[in-house]
């Protein structure tokens, strides 16, 4: 728990909690009871910051807010998509400001059984003031992975990870402390995760902590959880994260981390189908005598080379998605044209005898109207799909352009071109920038 006045006491400690609540009303098992359990836990544990995902109903957020009015007087629900982003934050410390970035790509509206599109996935940022420490806290939920072998949403998730790292890099420039958590739907070494961590320099609490109490390999979706029937391996998978970094002014250390382990003492079911994550972070003010920098010499160029590889890999993935979207757009266009041709043909066949010969149209009327309706439905559907795929193509192209530009700049940097160029983009340099001469 953060001390009341962090300026005069060192170190400050922050306890952060993250949970995907699996809060689909009427569909998720024991939804109301689980929310009550979550509320009790949060009220009792008094974490400094609580980051929730899949709070799909605002009513549930509101009831949590009421429950936590004493322990966490500050809260925000990020509204997005058709049903809401599902992202929520509760805090013991005043939330000064919030900002929401909606990912440009997030699945397909016609994949209703997956439903991600309707959730309007986003990253929510909250600006907290803890004494005179400015913390930028991010909560996010990326597109789900429904099949690891044939993951048709991979390009979307990679673009989401790309936008997430951009958003965090650029909006955290003024922060003393950066915390990002959520359900990333990516395994630890997945492309999007590497992209995010390497670009933003965020550190993974599970990797950093000296003291971990939780499931094997840090799993957050485990077979032992009775709510969970989709775990691909016995050991479970780690797809929920708490990441953090400090700043030139503030060093962060993860003192301990724990997760729930699939069951809750004295309860018959767990909090969710995911495990809850808790970390305790220690904040140390950086001594002004301490030299700045990012590690041993040469580390900067190593990281830049690594970034070049990762962004190139991401670009390839986006290109695959682009190829696929262009093919789908082409198919929609072709089908639409065929629907239109069929409609015109039908009208012509019906109209020609009537206009030229004055005889009634040769179709049985049932077939005529059914075929007409079918053509009309095809035209409408393919038009909508055309619009949707065109937007998807534009977003994929934009991400690919940005990646190409980034790789070009990183490569130039590797070749020793202009120095100090990536400072404000958040890419750490091996050497601090020289102090500019006073003019």
């Amino acid at each position: 728990m953060a001390t009341p006045d962090p300026v005069h006491s060192n170190p400050v400690r922050l306890r952060v909690f993250s949970l995907n609540c699996w809060g689909i009303r009427y569909l998720s098992k024991h939804c109301a009871q689980r929310y009550a359990m979550i509320g009790d836990l949060l009220a009792k544990e008094q974490y400094d910051v609580v980051l929730l995902q899949e709070v799909w109903s605002e009513k549930d957020f509101d009831s949590l807010k009421k429950r936590l009015v004493c322990s966490h007087p500050h809260g925000h629900y990020f509204k997005s998509g058709v049903i809401g982003s599902g992202l929520a934050i509760f805090s013991k410390h005043r939330i000064q400001d919030t900002f929401c970035y909606r990912y440009s790509l997030n699945g397909y509206p016609y994949m209703i059984q997956h439903g991600d599109w309707f959730g309007g996935k986003a990253v929510g940022m909250a600006l907290l003031n803890i004494g005179n420490i400015t913390a930028h806290v991010y909560v996010t939920h990326l597109h789900a992975e429904y099949s690891r072998e044939k993951d048709s949403y991979l390009p979307h998730r990679v673009v989401q990870a790309w936008e997430l790292q951009q958003f965090i890099r650029y909006t955290s420039a003024g922060a003393d402390v950066v915390i990002a958590a959520g359900d990333f739907n990516m395994h630890p070494m997945d492309l999007g995760n590497r992209l995010l961590r390497t670009y933003t320099d965020l550190r993974d609490a599970y990797v950093e902590t000296p003291s971990f109490d939780g499931c094997e390999d840090g799993g957050t979706m485990i077979a032992d959880n009775p709510n969970n029937d989709m775990v691909p391996s016995e050991k479970g998978i780690r797809i929920d994260y708490i990441l953090f970094k400090g700043s030139a002014k503030m060093e962060l250390h993860c003192e301990s981390m724990s997760t729930t382990k699939g069951s809750v003492p004295n309860h018959t079911f767990p909090y969710s189908d995911h495990e809850a994550l808790t970390v305790e972070l220690r904040l140390d003010r950086v001594s002004q005598d301490k030299p700045q920098g990012d590690g041993p010499p040469g580390r900067g160029s190593e990281r830049t080379a690594e970034l070049v590889d990762i962004v190139t890999e991401a670009r390839t993935e986006v290109k695959v998605g682009l190829h696929c979207a262009q093919r789908m757009c082409y198919t929609a266009t072709r089908t639409g044209v065929m629907g239109l041709a069929l409609l015109l043909l039908e009208l012509a066949i019906a109209a020609v005898p009537w206009l030229a010969l004055g005889t009634p149209q040769p179709f049985p009327s049932v077939s005529f109207y059914l075929l007409g309706t079918l053509c009309f439905a095809i035209l409408l559907t393919t038009s909508l799909l055309y619009v949707f795929y065109s937007i998807e193509i534009k977003c994929l192209q934009e991400a690919e352009d940005q990646m190409r530009l980034a790789v070009g700049c990183l490569q130039e940097r590797l070749r020793g071109f202009p120095v100090g160029t990536l400072r404000s983009a958040g890419v750490p340099e091996s050497q601090p920038r020289a102090v500019e001469p006073k003019e």
Copy 2:
């Protein structure tokens, strides 16, 4: 033109150009010829940074890029929406990175005659490195105002202005120089403009410049422009802007500004239906002896009070939009239910005699199928509208929540609550933050 090595020469000068190109292929008058003229002008004038809007076709961007390969080797087109955001940047200086924020609200897809929705309006950011100066350059285009008296898009434009100021405030924290330009579709004292300028502290080049050569009152859509038949007043209106601000390290001054005046010498038509803007900015490195701060004491609280008023006004406007969207959503739902009821009724009337009495259904088949098609079309359309309005409602609610939070924090600040709270949010304080004790 920026000097080749700005570190060793002071002051640096930057020439920035902005133009809404009105580049709708086959619809805008003299489109190809105007692009050729624009290309010639840019190649000749060699501005440091060129910010274009309404470049609706990527082919036109590509041909401009080819034309400017010598004068402006760096360029980026921001892809968004169905046809592209229309936003483009050309630069003499290397573009290090780009980032695109798509506005959450941008008109309605069924308002095809207005077309804004299809453009996917956004703000594009480019990170330029000019010597060792980091410039964050923003180009944007907000939703058009089709009727000043009955502006149904006002809430959308206010939300766009809100998101724009958030995006600029948070992503410019690491910049030495900030430049934002584009077609804001807002008059100088319109709500969105006040919101943007007051929150971000960006300064309007037209107001700041000691030397202006252009149309009366700085108009950028004027009656003298033969391409322009929509100007509401004789004098014209000012809706295109170049805004700028420096940083603690760098002071910016607008030395001169000019606009085109509705015609181009030796040409029969102007560059666009908007006037082009050019500014010359002088960058002075701030002396480290110079005291920091933001003006006379008390200015901070004055500005905070002003912000409270402006954000409250914006919140009211968003609430009006929210009320309207909720009504539309309700209407769509009601119409959908009626369509469904009609369809069921029709099926019942047709089925009952057939099932119960074995007689053929009483409808003439033409009416039966036509009515069925109509019901089906109503159901489909209202479902799509319901989804669209639900998303609109969520976005408006999110903006309103954010505004409420912001007003609350600003009011607390006015009452003298925690100091130093809004620093990283970009709101200047009247007094600089005290240096924290070294621990």
